[in-house]
Every structure is written in structure tokens, then in C-alpha cells.
Symmetry: C2
Subunit: 347 residues, 2 copies
């Protein structure tokens, strides 16, 4: 049976600290009909990423906050379900930004066509998508890893961290990963080929990190903040570079007992060691780096130099729980939701 209703997940209330299921609400509305020049997109995969937590707050973070009742935002892999646009054919796959819903209209702007035969479609949300590009652009533009450098990254089994370490190795640097628990650590070392890995849950984590970086740290790709940053700071070498793309350990800070996290750097440390610390979001670098990324990254994946792991959850209704787990590091690999099956159109 053809769907007639579009299910979507909206922001029901703003979390204080850790999000809970009641911050989300599932709604249904008739599937909209495309007008001339429009497409109807059917969501196949929905990307879940830590940055979405910021949008749930009131006020500006990187970008404008979502309003209560808004559909949760997010990148998607979608199928063109109906086309009234000359440039797009029904059945084509695209990278879109439909958000947490099954169907969305588009006028074609901002879509990128995906070839399902060149790489698994889900990778357009991960290693070959925004997280991979975040790693690539931030590491090359700000981190500037040189042969022999020590590059450290946390959440090293995750979508961004896994790419950071492997690209660092492609550039001849030594990659040290930080991950949570023995299973993720083994994956980072054995499957992703990092030179060393440290478990941030270990009671002597800071000491282990120091031992894993006997020549100090030249590049620290910051995506978590908190205690990891505290352990990294004293190890930064003269001229070290710190791209800051996220602070996931801080996102749930706030009311209801979640520990308040803070990560800061004294200008004096920065001065005495000629450090560079720079915040970015990947859109800052699209113009300069995207073409190179789309040429190099798929090639690295084919050559086995850039491996990845995906954690795919089935069903739109499971997105809130999966997202809540993401902020606590419960996922293992790039987290996405399979909203509709890839291989068949809904009947």
C-alpha cells in the first residue's frame, strides 16, 4: 500500500541537560504533493549527529535554534519519489537535508546526486559525507599534519574521529586514538590501524595518554572537551595545532545533575608554546576543500586506507532513543537511521 501519511519527529520541549524521549514527539500529516519545479523526496537514511543537540537549545549556537514544534533537522539520503523538476528523475538517490521525517518537498537546490553503485548509499552521511569532510577539512586546514607528527583524536571509533586518525596516517603522521571501552579501542587499533589507542574510561587515562605520546602532541583534533582536553593540554608541543569541531561531552551539561563541563585554554599557555587553537564548522571550508575531498576520500576508501564502521538503526520512531545514546557514546560507528529500505519503494 502506498503511504499516504508523512511521519515526522518534532521538538516537543527543550532538554535540560540530557535529552529524554519526551523532548520529541512523532506526528503525522498528509504527504505533500510537489508543484511544478518541485520533487517529493522519500527518506532512506537519516543521519544522527551530535551537533543536533545544540539546535534543541534556545538561542544561537553554531546556528539558529529550532523552534518548538519544528521537525528535527538533519541530513538524509533520499530517493526521488515524484519529480516535477526537469533535472531530476524518479528513483534517483540524492543527499538532502529533509530532517527527521519520511517525506519532504525540495526545489532541487542543495541536493547532490548519489550513485548507489560507486559506494554504499549510507556512506554519504558518514565517511564520504559531512563527518568525513569535517575530519578532512579541519585536519588539513588547521591541523596541517606533517610526517612524524603525533595526531590525537577522541571518539576515535566514531564518524569524525575514525577519519581524522586515518587521514593523519595517510599524511605520514602517527595517529593516537581515544575511545571508550575495550571493544571500541580494539577496533580503533586493529581495524582502523591507529598507532595507539587509549581508553578514556581507564582510571589512569591521563597517564596512559602521556605514555602513548612520548614525543608530545602536535595536532589535537578536539571533538569532545571535558576531561580529555584536560589530559591533552599539558602534552601539546610548541607550535601544536588544535582544530575544535565539537565538544560533545559538554552538550548535555545543564540542569538535572548532568556534570557541568568546561574546556578553556589560558592565553599564557598559548603564548608560551605558540599554539594555534581554532574553532570551525565544516561549512566554513566547503568552497576550499569539498572538490578535493570528493575526489580523494572515495579513492582512499577503495584502497582500504580509509575504513569506517556504521551503526544503523531501523525505523524513524527509534531516532530519539538512538540520538540520546549517541550523546552518551552508546553508538559504535557512524550512527544513522534506516527510515525506508534502500532496495524497494514503499508499495
Amino acid at each position: 500500500m502506498q503511504d499516504s501519511m508523512n511521519r515526522r519527529i518534532v521538538l516537543a520541549s527543550r532538554p535540560k541537560g540530557r535529552p529524554t524521549p519526551d523532548n520529541f514527539r512523532i506526528e503525522s500529516a498528509p504527504i505533500p504533493a510537489p508543484k511544478d519545479g518541485q520533487l517529493l523526496l522519500e527518506t532512506v537514511y537519516l543521519s544522527l549527529d551530535p551537533y543536533m543537540r545544540g539546535r534543541m537549545n534556545e538561542g544561537k549556537t553554531y546556528a539558529d535554534a529550532s523552534e518548538l514544534g519544528d521537525t528535527m533537522i538533519g541530513a538524509t539520503v533520499a530517493r526521488v519519489k515524484q519529480s516535477r523538476h526537469a533535472d531530476w528523475k524518479e528513483g534517483e538517490f540524492v543527499l538532502a537535508y529533509s530532517g527527521w521525517q519520511e517525506y519532504a518537498l525540495s526545489d532541487g537546490r542543495g541536493l547532490r546526486r548519489l550513485d548507489p553503485h560507486s559506494a554504499p548509499l549510507s556512506t554519504a552521511l558518514g565517511v564520504l559525507g559531512m563527518p568525513g569532510f569535517t575530519a578532512y577539512s579541519g585536519l588539513l586546514e588547521i591541523g596541517q599534519p606533517k610526517a612524524g607528527d603525533t595526531v590525537v583524536v577522541a571518539a576515535a571509533s566514531g564518524a569524525v574521529g575514525s577519519a581524522v586518525g586515518q587521514i593523519a596516517r595517510i599524511k605520514g603522521a602517527r595517529a593516537v586514538g581515544i575511545a571508550g571501552g575495550p571493544e571500541k579501542c580494539a577496533f580503533v587499533k586493529d581495524e582502523l590501524g591507529f598507532d595507539a589507542v587509549v581508553d578514556h574510561r581507564a582510571p589512569d587515562f591521563a597517564d596512559q595518554l602521556r605514555k602513548a605520546c612520548p614525543d608530545g602532541i602536535d595536532v589535537y583534533f578536539e571533538n569532545v572537551g571535558g576531561q580529555v582536553w584536560d589530559a591533552v593540554k599539558p602534552l601539546l608541543n610548541k607550535f601544536a595545532r588544535v582544530p575544535v569541531c565539537g565538544l560533545v561531552s559538554h552538550y548535555n551539561a545543564g540542569a538535572d545533575g548532568a556534570k557541568e563541563e568546561r574546556a578553556a585554554i589560558d592565553l599564557q599557555d598559548l603564548l608560551f608554546r605558540s599554539l594555534t587553537v581554532r574553532g570551525f564548522i565544516q561549512v566554513d571550508f566547503v568552497e576550499q576543500y569539498e572538490a578535493d575531498f570528493l575526489r580523494e576520500a572515495p579513492q582512499w576508501v577503495k584502497e582500504g586506507k580509509l575504513r569506517y564502521r556504521e551503526d544503523i538503526v531501523d525505523g524513524l520512531e527509534n531516532a530519539p532513543d538512538a540520538f540520546i545514546g549517541l550523546l552518551e557514546g552508546k553508538n559504535f560507528g557512524k550512527l544513522s537511521v534506516r527510515v525506508k529500505p534502500e532496495g524497494q519503494q514503499s508499495k
Copy 2:
């Protein structure tokens, strides 16, 4: 009468907080005789700069600490008094690093020949020397001012700050200076041609700074820290750049009642506004920028685009008091000591 003794000022004890005269001791020793391949240099001008305060502490800051009893370090303009080196003639002027003393031996390494007819000799320690180069290289490499940008600098009547603002204007940016007291503020605005100036001693300083920067701040050249940094931070625009070359308001922090100063930045601020904060010392940039600086800066001085003011104190014995005053902002312009007259050799 020919001098037979070399007077020098040594580190007698380490200051706790603000230096005092008894941290310095004047000593005399026979003037050394150059061997083959050596020069005897006679100090004409001695540069006094805030970074010297760091060397008086125990432990490493930018560079190794001075030992107790060591001659205080520092750049000098010197005359070749005796030469037993084929490349150097008696009577030539050089930029040297003799420290706080009247005479020093050199093997010629690291000296730069100065032409007393092309620019006043003292400028080799100021606008055409290390402070000017600090401004030039830090501003161009890290600050990257573009036409229409707002560039803010403190200690704007001083050696580095005055050059930062004027070079920003040469690059088409709007220069906002911060200085202490009406006399310095008038100089910054009227003589140096900054677009606006704010007195950091005003009780509503932060408010005045905000009004002087109606479009926010794109580049803040950090050389003071403390309350100025606190006022600047909320005004930094998305993509703002902060070269950090000094924190003079912190240098006297410590024991004996001097207020403890701290300047830090939260990684979250850095992330949400894609800020770049980078510490440097000018030696980091010599290779890349020195030749350009030595070509451009003298030309700008000749054209009247790069003005400067010098505060010259007579007599080596007055160096400690002058230096103590420098750390409190008592100088007005680039501070140097005239150790020997320019125009005549000592008889």
C-alpha cells in the same frame, strides 16, 4: 679618557610580582679585548621590552630563564669599537644582542649592519626592529586584516601597538586603539591616525570599546590580557582572528599584592564563532616575513604612513627604573636607553 671598565646590569634576585630596583645590580669589569675573528661592540642604544620580565622568572616561558648574576639580555644598537674580523670595520653601526652593558664581544654572527643615514639608529630597536616586526608578522600571518575589518590593539601608543594599527590601516582596515590616559589617547588618534581610541582607565571602558566597534571586532592583536581581553571577548565576530604576542598586564602577577590576572578562552566560544586564537613570538616568522618587512616598513616610514614615537632614557644606570616603569605603562612610545652618545666615540 678611554673607558677601561665595562659596566653591566645583572639579575641580582628574582622579582615576586612587580620588579624592584634591588632585583638588579650594577657591576664593573675590565673591557674584554677581542681576539682574532672577534669584534668589540660599544652599546649606543639598549632596547627595553616587556618580554624581558619573563626571563627574570625561574623556569621556561617563551625561552630559557636568565640565571642569577647573568647580564640582563636585550637587543642593542652598537658601534664597532675594535675589529679583528675581516667583514667589519671600526665605526660601523650594527644591530646586536649585547644585553644591558656598555661593551660586548661578538664573532659577527647574528649582527645586522645599520646605515645611520637611512633611518635614525634607534628605530632599529623599534618601528624598524623587533617590535615593528612583531606587529607586521603577527598581524599579516595570523590577523590577516581585510579591507573594512575592525582591528583592535591595546598599548596602542607603544612600540608594537602603534605599528599594528597603522599597518591595519595600510591594509584598508579600521584601526581601534586602546591606551592609558588622555595624552596617549590623543597621540594615537591625532598623530598615528587610528580611526578611534578608547582609554582603558575609563570606568566605562568596556562600554566605550563596544561603541567604538559598532561592527564588532575582526582582529584583536593581544599584547596585554587582563581586563582588556575581558572587554574584547564578547565583541569578537564570527571568524575573528586573535594573534597573541604578549600579556603585559600579567607579567607582574604573583606575590606581594600584585593582582593575579588571567586571560583564557572557552573552547565553546571559539567553536560557536569559528575563532582563531594563536600565540606567537616574532622569531617564529623571521624566515617567512623578515625580508618583506625590511623592504616595506622603511618605505612606509618615509611615506609617513608608519609613524612612531620613542621614549629614550639616558644612562645605563637608569635602565632598571625605566624597565620597571615600562611594565606599568609609564613610558610613552618605544622605550630605549641611550647608553653612549651616537655621534662620538667615548674618549
